[in-house]
Amino acid sequence: MKPVKKTEKVLARFDIEVNDQQDRAVLDKLLDAQARRKITGAALSVFDVFRKMIRSRMIQIMAATIIIGIGFFSVYEWGERDAIVSKPIPQEVKSPADLTTLGALRFAFCQGGMEKVEQMCDQAISMSGPRPAEISRWDCF
């Protein structure tokens, strides 16, 4: 047999045995480390899930879309509100007789003074149709 083969054969006899007591102690330590890791893992599971979610490209795109959508919606909503506020409130249409009652005129005077009273009178006259030129609007009352 060649010297190399002989040496390899001798070296192959190098073997180890393990101390059972120490072996068990090491295994116990490893099992203990595994149990501790499991507890820590459970405690961090929610955080881990959140972290993984944040890292996901899809989730990032979805979150960005939602934020942009909310932004657009709020701007649109604000514009709508402005439009509603600026729109004139339709006034209730009343007959000339109703417009010129004592109560209605007094109420108009309280709201806007003589100008408001005149406005109401003009409205009542215009509603009652055309009148001859020689008759002034004050003659109507």
């Binding site: 190098f14 180890i16 393990v18 101390n19 120490q22 072996d23 330590k29 099992l31």
Partner: protein, 181 residues
């Protein structure tokens, strides 16, 4: 291989039985390799212990491209190198130092027990230069091919083969009596 994959999957889920099985399957192989790579048995024990501990702690993040056995073997080799570098010790110790190290082998605190013949081989291995010892240990006890060792040590296969040959020659001289028998 298939069994390892299954065991690793179960280990990732924190199964203690999978850990027990992996430990029993690979501890002797890794201890033998570490003991052959390091002159100090205490350090060899530490390295293997650390490798198993890291496996447990990082099991859920572990993704293997090769076999679990080669992964553990590489971990041991890296651990041995780090240990030797950190402690700034010479991996080759004198025969007397090796004797002292071997003397307390039979104590109950020891994990590795070497019999007389194995102890002599261990002492002989300890006298080899680092590169030669690593090649011999990885080839004979790590069951690695020369091309794999060449990749690990980042040298050519020719260099590995010559290191192996010179190492064996030196061991033959050191173990003269045993080789002749």
């Amino acid at each position: 291989m298939l069994e390892d994959t299954w065991l690793l999957l179960r280990l990732k889920r924190g199964n203690p039985e999978a850990l027990r099985r992996l430990y029993e399957k690979y501890r002797v192989y890794l201890l033998r390799l570490a003991a052959a790579l390091l002159a100090d048995k205490h350090m060899a024990e530490d390295v293997v212990h650390d490798v198993f501990l890291r496996l447990v702690q990082s099991a859920d993040r572990l993704t293997l491209s090769g076999s679990l056995k080669s992964y553990l073997r590489t971990c041991v080799v890296n651990g041995v190198r780090n240990k030797a570098r950190a402690a700034k010790i010479r991996a080759v110790v004198s025969l007397e130092e090796a004797d002292i190290a071997a003397a307390d082998t039979d104590g109950s605190s020891q994990w590795i027990i070497l019999k007389e013949e194995s102890r002599r081989i261990h002492q002989a291995l300890a006298q080899l230069p680092d590169e030669q010892r690593e090649v011999i240990a990885l080839h004979l006890y790590g069951e690695m091919k020369f091309c794999e060792i060449a990749g690990l040590q980042e040298v050519s296969i020719k260099t590995i083969q010559s290191r192996y040959r010179y190492g064996l020659e030196k061991l033959r001289l050191l173990l003269d009596g045993e080789v002749e028998t």
